[in-house]
Structure formats: C-alpha cells, structure tokens
Symmetry: C2
Subunit: 414 residues, 2 copies
C-alpha cells in the first residue's frame, strides 16, 4: 500500500511540473516518446511475447489474445497515435470567458489541466501509450492500472515512455503504472482521492460497475452501449436496411454497434422481412417480440434481451405503435450512449432528438459514428455515458477543468 | 426502501415532462410557486415552529437554531429567491457548437437538463425552495433529502410548491422530499444511480465526506474552504490589512472566509504586528509558527492548524521565504476553494494564478467574493471544490449537461 501512496505523491508533484509546460515543450516530448516506441520496439515485443505465452498457457480466448498481441505494425500504430496527439490543438490556457464586475474585479475563466488522471483498463496494451499521450498533452499526470494479462507489455511501454521523458528533461512521473495486480490494490487505488482528480475506467461492464461502486474519486463512466435504431413509418426503406446492417454488423464488439431494432407497426409486414433477409447475410440471430414473429422467423425476445448489449451477431426486435413508444422503450432500456431514428418525418425526428436521453442521437445515420475521430475531435480517451462533466466522445478538452482568476486593486466585500 | 424507489421512478417520469417545457412555461410556474410561498406562509411558519420547538427541547446550538428559524422576512426572501431565478436566462436548448463532417453529417452539441438532481443538505430550510427553483428552471427534477432538524419546515415548503405546480398543470414530481430521516435511507438514496444523475451535498465537511465515500451517483463536492491569503514582499500594506480583515471577519461561518495567512519573511517584522493589531478589533485568535512568534503574540500553530477550516475567529499564520513556498504550502493544505495573493509584483501574481490549485485565485482582492451573485451568475446551487464538471460557484449552466444530435441522409461507416 505504501508503494501506491508513494506513486500518488509523485504524480501530484509531476502535475505541478506539467501544468507549467508550454504546448511546444509538450509536443517535443511527445515526439521523443513516439520515436522511442519505435526505437525500442524489440523490448516491447519481447515483453508482449511473455504476456502472450502466459495467456496461451492459461487458455485465454482467441479474441482476447488478439487484442493483447503486439507486432511491428501495431507498435507503429502506437507511435502514430502519439504523433496524432501532437497535431491536436492544446486546450490548456484557453480563456473561456472574461467579465468585469461593477466593483472593478476582472474575472477570467481559464482552461487548466485536470491534475492527476487515473485510468483502469483491461487487456489492450495500446491504451497505455494512447492514454498517456492524451493526458500529457493536456498537462495531466496519469496513473495507469492495466490488466494483469498485459502487465509485461504495459510495463515495457511505460518504461520506454519514462526513459524518453527523462531524455527530454521532463519528469518521468508524468506516467506511472501500478504494477501490483491483486484486486486489493485496485480497490485501494480507487480511493486515492487525495492524489487523483478523476478516474476513468475503460473496459467491460463488470469493470465499470466495480469502479462506480467503489471509487471515492470522481469517475467518468464510459463504454457500455445498448444502442437502438427505430425505423419510423415514414422511413426510406433502403436507407433503413443499409443503416441497420452497418450498425449491427460492421464491427460487432464495439460500444456504438446497434443491439436493438424498433419498428413502426404500420410498416412491419413490408419492411421487417427485408431487414431480416439482409441480416441473414451475416447470420445475425434475431430475437423478436410476438408481433415480429408474425412476419419473420425469430427467437422469442425476453425482457432481458431488451436490456442486453450483445456485442455479438444478435439483435433484439420490437414492434412499436409510433415514435412515442419507441422513445419510451429506449429511455427505459438504453445505456445513454447512441440512438438512431430512420425517418422522413421532420417532426418525429425533432421529437426523437429532444426526448431520447442519450449522449448521441442520430437521424438517418448509423450509430457507429460515435467516435472521437469521426466527430472530428481526434483521439479519444473514451466515450462517456454519464451526464456529469463530459458526454459522448471525450477528447483533449474533456481532460481539462477550469479555474477562475480574479484580479482586483483592493476590493473587499461589504 | 420501496417508497424511495417509487419516488425515484416518479422523478424520472417528471424529468421527461420537464425537459419538454419552454422557458416561458417554466417561468410561469416559478412565479406561481413564489406567490404560493407568500400566500401559504402561515402553514410554513407553523411547521417551522414545530422544528424550532423540538430543536430548543433538544438543546440545539443558538447559531443552528437561527439558521433553522423562518419568519415573515425570511419567507419573503424565499419567494424573492424564486423570482430571481425567473429573471435568469435559461441555458437549456443552447446550441454550443455545430460542425459538418466531410461525409455530410451535421453534428450539434446542445445544452440539455441533467435529468434528476439529488440534494442532501443540513438544517437550512431555505435550500428547499432555492434548490427547487434552480433545478426546475434548468428542466431538472429534484429529489431533496434535508436534515431531520428541519423536516417539518421542509415538508411544508415542498407541499406548498407541489400544490402550486399542480395548479399550473405541471407535474408535482418535479420536486420530491425524502421524509424518512434515518441514516439507512440516506445511504440507500446515495446509491439510487438508476434514477439520479447527479448528487450535490450541501453542508459541513462530515456530510460531504460521507456522500463522497458512499455515493455511487456522480457527486459534485461543494463547500469546505480552507482559504489562504499570501502577503507578498511587494504588497501594498494598507490593502493587505484591509483585505485580510475583511476575508477573516466580515462573516466567519462561510466557506470563502480566510482561514490562514502566509507572509513574506522580509516584511514580517513591519507588517505582521499591523495585521495582528487590526485583527484584535474582532478578538481574532492567532495561531502562528515560530517566526511569527518572534514579532507577534500568538498560540503556537500545529500541522493540524494549517489543515483546519476554523469557521471561527481564529487564523493560522506562517512566515514563508517567497511566492514559491507560499504556493507549495497552499497546494499542500488547501481545499481547492479560494486563495489570494496581495502583491504589486506582476510576475508573482501571474505565478500565483497559474500554479495555485484552486477554483478561484485572487490577486489583490478578498476571498469573500467567491459567490454566484458576486460573480454575476445569479443564484448558486453551491460552490464546487472538485475539478470534474464544475468548479467554483455553480449556477444554472452547471446544472445542465449536453447531448450531441447528428443528422444525416443515410450515412454508414466504412
């Protein structure tokens, strides 16, 4: 435990150093880091091979092994990820507002780093360098707690970054990795409120739930997406089919994939078979309500189906009486991530955008666009599904806070 | 417990109603509420008399009794508080940003209500109507958990508000009061994450700590202020004395009062006796370090003194070698609320504003200005001392979130 607190103290010291750095200094250091990741790739690959070997011995799932595995190309992608952050504008120091009070006080609201950012993540080692780059560019120190599956890879990447920072005369405590992998350490980390300003979990629903339940540090909840597409009576049918097929099958394991389809009862006879037919191309299993079963072959859907983020070739379907019922169903079952309506009716589109409670609400487009790059924000630290602080894709700006500076000439309160 | 969940469900239903209301409709309802508070003042005063009687019987502290007590004038102030919120601009619906992607998607970032706001507060019944008005104006449903000391007053005020809302055809579930006063209910409330979007504790350090420790709902930490004033070598001495006297003694029980004085060693001999002399006018007890004790009469200060928010006629004093030591001391002991430097040196002022980690950093002005009204934001729901979401005085804007709406014409992700 003492080691953990030592690490917290060092991160706090580092944050005071980092917040003084200019954008140019930060960019130079990031370029050094990107170069070091390429130069030292053999060290990183050797460490990764250890993780892979242990994973294989423990019978790790093929998909998980793939996410864990690094190779030349993926190391190149790590370095490129860091360089992409160099290109992004630095939000720190921006004067967001200025006002002068009647008594002459001048109040400025300025964007400042968050301070120390904690990230708890699962087995993808690319998060180590990605999260570092985003936090560093915004003047934050970062404390990382990766999964035990990737510990050797994460440690190698962290060491390479630390060495590169030192070579640029930047404090190596800008990045720290918690190396202990037992659960009690994670629990202790989540309560290091005196050092850490915000905690961002990245991973599956279980990890996120655990962080929300146990953290005393303010958390930004990310990730889980039980995303719906509602096909309105007036929908362009070809567009609906194309968007549903894309949102469900283009990549199944992601949070912005479509998990549930709602369709207006008046068009179900005509349109539902066409959609089902298209989804057959990818062997998507359909779990539908009774009304769906009247027109397509499907497994009966349960309440639980409507609440499930499958992350698989499965979709739940429900026939609804109209946009109001669609909105009510979505607001009952969704995870506040991304929701879409396919409609040619402007009024229904407006109603859907206003009344659906989600970070991203789409009209006539695939939910798959909820992504920092697609939104033009650049790299993202995650997609927030809470309403406090940040919602939807979180980029550099969402890793900052603000402070007020108030300049006077002796004003006192009467 | 079931009652609590019932209340949560009703608040969620209410939030969907409230977010559809126009600014005019919300203002009309608030005017009805203000009028009802005046019209029904006898009911409110009678209920308050019960709380006061119980408080007196239980030997409640005079200061606390005073904060609990309502009278004609204070009821008038409640109503006026609600009318002030009518006058404030409605942030909901504001389009914060618009962008068009290369693929033709149009992304709008729009300000929306937070949803359901939970407030846990102590014995001041005015919070009941103040918090309701701010939440209602921003389209939020509010669930209130007041202190048991004020339960009769809070219930009367809530009932008057509910009745006024119903008379305007607005859902009475826009406001709910948790009437059970046992601790287990508060604990359960803090974990009602499925209904409540943000929880704001208002009260003493103990209450706030308990909420931070136990809540699974995102919390905005408010309140505690261990505020410092640093008198730099170059300070205008008269200004320093006037600001310290104001910040320490103008009102002692508030979070933006000065609790600790730092002074440059080169001016201590001359200036410290003058400050001590002025503070004697209000019998302020000085707790100083050894160097202070060389020039003024004082009680020896302990480590604990430097970490204490006295909320009393007491101030801790420390002599420092310069602005860097002052900043380091503040960043070690402060609660990230309000900090001030008195200086004529522009460079030191800049350094102090940049490097002190606090919501509000002052140059040559009293820390007492940290307040929504003083900042020109209007009524405030609290003063945030965390960095996530909101920092410093929180007004209407800070009670909102945002959502992205994305409009396309069939875009799918490649």
């Amino acid at each position: 435990m003492n080691q953990l607190h030592e690490l917290g103290k060092k991160a706090v010291s580092a944050k005071f150093e980092l917040q003084k750095m200019t954008t140019e200094e930060k960019n130079e250091a990031l370029k050094c880091v990107a170069k070091a990741l390429l130069d030292k790739k053999d060290i990183i690959l050797a460490a990764n091979a250890v993780d892979i070997k242990i994973g294989e011995e423990n019978g790790m799932h093929v998909g998980k092994l793939d996410r864990l595995r690094l190779n030349d190309e993926r190391i190149k992608a790590l370095a490129e990820g860091v360089l992409q952050v160099v290109e992004l504008p630095d939000p720190v120091g921006e004067v967001m507002e200025t006002s002068e009070c009647a008594n002459g006080l001048i109040i400025e609201k300025k964007r400042v780093p968050m301070g120390v950012v904690g990230i708890i993540y699962e087995s993808r080692p690319n998060v180590t360098s990605d999260a570092f780059a985003l936090c560093f560019k915004t003047g934050n120190a970062v404390i990382l707690k990766g999964g035990s599956d990737a510990i050797h890879s994460n440690k190698a990447i962290t060491d390479v970054i630390k060495e590169a920072l030192l070579a640029c005369n930047v404090t190596e405590d800008a990045i720290s990795l918690i190396e202990a992998t037992d659960r009690s350490v994670t629990q202790e980390f989540m309560r290091m409120k005196e050092y850490v300003d915000v905690l961002i979990p990245r991973g599956g629903a279980g990890l996120i739930r655990s962080v929300v339940e146990n953290s005393t540090i303010p958390v930004i909840e990310t990730g889980t997406g039980n995303c719906h597409i509602y096909v309105d009576e007036s929908a362009d049918v070809d567009m609906a089919i194309s968007i549903i097929f894309n949102a469900k099958t283009q990549r199944i394991g992601v949070c912005n994939a479509c998990e549930s389809l709602l369709i207006h009862e008046k068009i179900k006879d005509k349109v539902l078979p066409l959609i089902a037919n298209k989804l057959k191309e990818k062997q998507v299993e359909i779990r539908g309500d009774e009304k769906s079963a009247e027109v397509i072959e499907c497994v009966p859907a349960t309440e639980e189906d409507y609440a499930t983020e499958y992350l698989d070739y499965i979709i739940s379907v429900k026939v609804v009486a109209g946009v109001e019922e669609a909105i009510a169903h979505i607001n009952k079952y969704n995870t506040k991530h991304s929701e879409a309506i396919i409609t040619e009716d402007k009024e229904n589109a407006e109603k859907f955008m206003r009344d659906v409670d989600a970070a991203c609400v789409y009209v006539n487009a695939s939910t798959r666009f909820t992504d920092g790059f697609e939104f033009g924000f650049g790299a993202e630290i995650g997609i927030s599904t809470q309403k406090l602080h940040a919602r939807g894709p979180m980029g550099l700006r969402e890793l900052t806070s603000y402070k007020y500076t108030i300049q006077g000439n002796g004003q006192i309160r009467g």
